[in-house]
């Protein structure tokens, strides 16, 4: 039996645990912006492309006889997924191909490139299995370092510029009119997604990377309202799912990626059920009224600043007593 002491001292367990926390923190940050942009499947597309990168890294490793064979797999995945991210933003920008077709091509090209190149490198598609579905046995100190660097970059950009990223993903037209660097932000988000894919691939697997970006965000949406709260709640859900899933696989021989994703989906399902039972998040707190029952304070009124403030004060008092609820 593995004790808590082993968990904290054995690198074999400690490294994946740290990476799991990093994935839990970063994936929902990127995921929030992807969901907002209605680009939920971008992470999936990049996961497939990363597989080509893994195989290409393997091929280069075989050429220059590095040891172990897959030393360059993760750097390869990083390069391929960043290139894939830039390609998809380019296609989106020039607009010749619809976005979902471009994503589909990324999916197929990525997986086909992966199986062909791994064969060229003298391996078989079996060698790709660990990267497809994730595993614990292969995590090294180098992986941990790479994951740490990627996570810091993604979190610094994603949280530090969250206002800018939220503005652009919410309304591109308004962002352009406000003089915000829309193209740069779109590229930034795509590259952040690529970094997160690379960071998550070892443990969660290329096929399930995107799930940790999207499912916690979907789960959070069943519980809270608002952009910022959704992101923070999704981060908490993803960290718990990643840690919980990993701890389960320490004791039970199961693929960590699958367990983590199933746990996240479990939280989403619980959120849906509780919403069905208890109603929408914060529904009862919110003052609300239909068009017919427009609150008096919303009627046209004097609009000099002083008068406006008085109105607002009155509004604050009356808002608690406002009925009936009527979702617009």
């Amino acid at each position: 039996m593995i004790s808590a002491f082993d968990l904290l001292t054995s690198d074999v367990i400690r490294y994946p645990l740290i990476i799991a926390v990093l994935i839990g923190l970063t994936a929902p940050v990127v995921g929030t912006f992807l969901v907002q942009k209605r680009l939920s499947l971008l992470g999936d597309g990049l996961g497939h492309v990363a597989l080509t990168g893994v195989a290409a890294g393997w091929l280069v490793g075989a050429w220059i006889s590095v040891s172990p064979h897959d030393l360059l797999a993760i750097p390869g995945a990083l390069i391929a997924s960043v290139l894939g991210a830039l390609a998809i933003e380019y296609v989106r920008e020039i607009g010749h191909t619809s976005r979902d077709v471009a994503l589909a091509i990324l999916f197929y090209g990525g997986i086909a490139g992966g199986v062909v190149i791994i064969q060229l490198a003298g391996g078989t598609s079996q060698n790709l299995m660990g990267y497809l579905f994730g595993s614990l046995s292969t995590v090294t100190a180098t992986d941990l370092t790479i994951a740490l660097v990627l996570a810091v970059v993604v979190l610094a950009v994603g949280l530090g510029l969250s206002g800018l990223l939220a503005a652009v993903t919410t309304d591109e037209e308004f962002a352009r009119a406000s003089g915000l660097p829309v193209r740069l932000v779109n590229v930034l988000i795509a590259v952040m997604a690529a970094l997160t894919v690379t960071l998550s691939m070892r443990i969660v697997g290329a096929l399930m990377v995107s799930a940790l970006m999207i499912v916690p965000v979907a789960a959070a949406q069943t519980m809270v309202v608002g952009f910022g709260r959704t992101m923070r709640t999704a981060m908490a859900i993803a960290v718990l799912a990643a840690l919980g899933g990993l701890l389960i696989t320490v004791y039970v021989d199961l693929p960590p990626g699958g367990v983590i994703v199933l746990l996240s989906i479990g939280v989403y399902a619980l959120g849906l059920i509780s919403r069905a039972v208890l109603g929408s998040p914060r529904r009862r707190e919110r003052p609300a009224s239909g068009h017919s029952g427009e609150p008096a304070a919303e009627q046209p009124g004097p609009s000099t600043p002083g008068q406006r403030e008085t109105q607002a004060a009155q509004r604050g008092v009356s808002s608690t007593a406002r009925t009936p609820h009527h979702p617009a």
Binding site: T32, V35, Q36, K37, R38, G163, L164, A166, A167, T169, T170, D171, E173, F174, A175, R176, A177, S178, G179, L180, P181, V217, Q221, V225, G226, F227, G228, T230, R282, R286, P287, A288, H291, E294, P295, A297, E298, Q299, P300, G301, S303, P305, R308, E309, Q311, A312, R315, G316, S318, S319, R322, P327, A328
Partner: protein, 254 residues
């Protein structure tokens, strides 16, 4: 370049294409500081396209467009601009609250100070009568209320130039009056306003100048009362003639 008296908007021979079809055929437009200008015309006449060109959303094929004296494409000229797009955005998939939505308007505004963010956001929401719903997701609002949040998002920038694409669509009459009063007040304080309207409506007394577009060309630029009008009694649907063609006929007679 941006001294007093310099035009806020200067569009010359602007040609703009959408999806390979030319929509604006050489537009000239000048708006001076403090003016309130209405942009009128039938559906498909190019009003929104012109507006989007002026705010830098659509690129020009040829000609030029300047904001406060600098080319629209340069972001420097956007910090004094407040824009209310035509389609009340659904705000993406994540239901951002009215407060969060309005806060995005502060980005890129020259007056932005993090410390003053919340009071300014709330003041903007108050001015459109939406303060009580600040924490409600805009996805759960009626079209008219969402429109008011979008107006607040533009106002929070404390713009010197306000560009509005049908700000009254879906907004009930009392609220239209309230918003019109707000625009009037801003205009008195020197804010330049360009507004696309279907009907002059509650702003009829305040508009300095009407610019009428037809098939992507300016067909009137002058006093509101001189604008080419469809006779209200003239039932163009009876003749199955598209409204923009009717507008063209009226112009021939004028």
């Amino acid at each position: 370049m941006t001294g007093a008296g310099a035009p806020v908007v200067e569009v010359a021979q602007a040609r703009v294409s959408l999806g390979g079809t030319e929509v604006l055929h050489g537009i000239d437009l000048r708006i001076d500081p403090g003016e309130m200008v209405a942009l009128l015309g039938a559906n498909g006449s190019g009003k929104s396209t012109l507006l989007r060109t002026i705010v830098g959303v659509f690129p020009l094929d040829s000609g030029h467009a300047r904001l406060f004296g600098s080319p629209v494409a340069r972001s420097r000229s956007h910090d004094r601009l407040g824009y209310v797009p035509q389609d009340a955005t659904d705000g993406g998939s994540i239901p951002a609250t009215a407060r969060e939505t309005v806060a995005t308007g502060l980005l890129g505004a020259r007056t932005w100070r993090p410390r003053l963010r919340d009071p300014r956001v709330m003041r903007a929401l108050e001015s459109v009568g939406m303060a009580a719903l600040a924490d409600r997701p805009i996805t759960r609002m009626s079209g008219g209320r969402r429109r008011r949040v979008m107006i607040a998002r533009a106002l929070v920038r404390e713009p010197r130039f306000l560009v509005l694409d049908e700000p009254f669509s879906g907004v009930d009459l009392p609220t239209q009056e309230m918003i019109a009063r707000l625009f009037r007040e801003l205009s008195t304080q020197g804010t330049t306003i360009l507004v696309v309207l279907h009907e002059i409506g509650p702003l009829s007394e305040d508009i300095d100048r009407a610019v009428v577009l037809d098939h992507g060309e300016v067909v009137h630029d002058g006093a509101v009362e001189d604008r080419p009008l469809l006779d209200p009694g003239h039932d163009h649907t009876h003749h199955a003639t598209p409204i923009d063609e009717c507008l063209g006929q009226e112009l021939d007679h004028a």
